[in-house]
């Protein structure tokens, strides 16, 4: 797929496939096109040319009125968490579940939200508001919200960008657990240490081009990553 903004190519003929249950990292310097790729996957934007298929849905040709069908299949985690401050942690998670599927009752939404919070290690903080939680805890709530509807794909844009190293490692453990349950996880990050240590598939974007697709378990030459962090 290719995505252009005017005469500038944000993504240039990028071709990749993600397997179920696979955890991959998307790396590259700022402006390389990582966020553009995630936005294409979530159909926030359309490719200028090419195709984007997500779980059998053609995102590239999806009408605006059908975008919600795709979004229910893609969980999203942001660097800045994007929690609603007026809702508790459990309500934030339940809100995502109910607005995505109106057939979910209050009781079911609450129970599933508490289960999801329990799974991310926040079973006792369901009644806390976002401003009563640490950054790491807020990001865990955001992860719980992203996976509550059991999407086949989870994308995360710099999920550890605002976290200390300890919280970042906890977050990565969480993503590994999620992938182990069969959910495909794609994480855009600048964190070289995490990428090196986890030994997962690494997709490297530079100037909008996919310059390297390094399979899991192989350590390549990534010296440039250190300079971009």
């Amino acid at each position: 797929m290719t995505r252009a903004y005017g005469s500038r190519l944000a993504l240039d003929d990028v071709c990749l496939a993600l397997e179920p249950g696979e955890l991959s990292f998307l790396v590259g310097p700022s402006g390389a096109g990582k966020t553009t790729l995630l936005r294409l996957i979530n159909r926030e934007i359309r490719p200028t040319s090419g195709k984007v298929w997500i779980d059998g849905i053609a995102a590239h040709s999806l009408k605006a009125s059908r975008v919600s069908d795709l979004r229910r299949r893609v969980g999203v985690v942001f660097q800045d968490y994007k929690l609603l401050p007026q809702l508790t942690a459990a309500e934030n998670v339940a809100f995502a579940l109910q607005v995505g599927d109106l057939r979910v009752s209050d009781e079911e939404a609450r129970d599933r939200a508490l289960d999801a919070l329990e799974a991310v290690g926040l079973g006792d903080r369901g009644a806390s508001f976002p401003n009563q939680l640490s950054g790491g805890q807020q990001q865990r709530v955001a992860v719980a919200r992203a996976v509550i509807a059991k999407p086949p794909l989870l994308i995360a844009d710099e999920p550890t960008g605002n976290l200390d190293m300890e919280s970042a490692w906890e977050m990565m453990d969480l993503f590994e657990d999620i992938a182990a349950w069969g959910i495909t996880v794609l994480i855009a990050t600048h964190n070289v240490e995490i990428v090196k240590r986890l030994q997962r598939r690494v997709l490297t974007l530079v100037h909008g081009r996919l310059v390297r697709d390094q399979p899991a378990g192989q350590i390549g030459r990534m010296a440039w990553l250190a300079s971009s962090s």
Binding site: V67, L70, V76, K82, V99, G100, L102, R103, V104, S105
Partner: protein, 316 residues
């Protein structure tokens, strides 16, 4: 023999409908209500301008209705030619004139009004009873009331009868050349002015409402973004804003409708107290219907403006 255990529970489809209904009420209507209250300061200008627009629309609409009725009355009166008879005209002279008019193909009907009937009729017209009582004798002449088939034929019949022996030479008929045309011109001018005025006010009200909804979208942008990202259907993301606009429109419409009804009812009451007609055809029922239409227009204007704002300012 194996027994059968029946477990009676909720009908699933009904239960599902209840759940969906509850969620729609909470997220679409409840969310809209909370947001409307939260953004009341940015909505207030829209509320005020829309109320003013709807009030003026209601009053102008009812005035237009009254003018339309007036025009119909005037058209009817203009096609009715009063041929005033000499006080000393004989029965034969009057009968001869009447017969000729009845036979005229341009004439629909001819009715004789005696001096006594003319006096009675005058006493029902505001201002004329005083004139009638100021004289010892009856000042109103007998007449032949000629109803024309076509308003354009009045002039021809007028010229035919004014020199007749039975007709009063000093004031032969009620014919006033161009009077009907003058009324039509005035009414047309008023209609154009009213439409232009309401068009301008409508533009202002829609612009202000669009901006207030834009402010609401901005205030709730995080919530909207999250709803969009978790797969909320488009109608559910946009619905609360349409409801917000509808709330603004409904409140404006209700206020404007009530004031319109109150003003018209007061006018009718004041008119009946002084034996004058407030506005032709405008009754309490018409005023109530007008108020209901103002309310419906408010509802439509509010939700329509919201839709317009959503199309412009919200991404999918």
């Amino acid at each position: 023999m194996a027994g059968i255990v029946l477990v009676k529970g909720h009908f699933p489809r009904r239960r599902m409908a209840q759940i969906v209904g509850t969620n729609v009420m909470r997220y679409v209507f409840g969310g809209a209500g909370r947001s409307w209250l939260r953004n009341i300061s940015s909505t207030a200008p829209a509320l005020g301008s829309m109320t003013l627009l709807l009030l003026l629309s209601g009053l102008v609409g009812l005035a237009g209705y009254a003018l339309t009725n007036l025009e119909r009355v005037e058209a009817g009166q203009a096609s009715l030619l009063y041929v005033y008879l000499r006080d000393d005209a004989t029965f034969l002279e009057v009968n001869d004139l009447s017969s000729r008019l009845v036979k005229d193909p341009r004439v629909a009907s001819v009715t004789y009004t005696s001096k006594a009937d003319a006096l009675k009729r005058a006493q029902t017209i505001p201002g004329l009873p005083q004139l009638a009582s100021s004289s010892d004798s009856n000042p109103f002449p007998a007449s032949l009331d000629v109803q024309m088939k076509n308003i354009n034929e009045v002039a021809g019949v007028n010229s035919l009868v004014r020199s007749d022996i039975a007709v009063d030479p000093s004031y032969p008929t009620s014919y006033d050349q161009g009077s009907y045309q003058r009324i039509q011109n005035v009414l047309f001018g008023l209609a154009v002015a009213g439409i232009v005025f309401l068009g301008l006010l409508g533009f202002v009200a829609v612009t202000v409402t669009v901006n207030s909804i834009r402010a609401a979208i901005h205030a709730r942008r995080d919530e909207i973004r999250i709803m969009q990202l978790v797969g909320a259907p488009r109608w559910m993301v946009r619905g609360p804003f349409v409801v917000e606009g509808a709330i603004t429109g409904a409140l404006s419409g209700a206020a404007a409708g009530l004031v319109t009804f109150g003003l018209v009812a007061a006018g009718i009451h004041a008119g009946s107290a002084s034996f004058t007609q407030f506005a032709p055809g405008v009754t309490v029922v018409v005023a109530a219907a007008g108020a209901a239409m103002v309310f419906a227009a408010g509802l439509g204007l509010g939700s329509g403006s919201s839709l317009l704002s959503l199309r412009r300012h919200m991404e999918s």
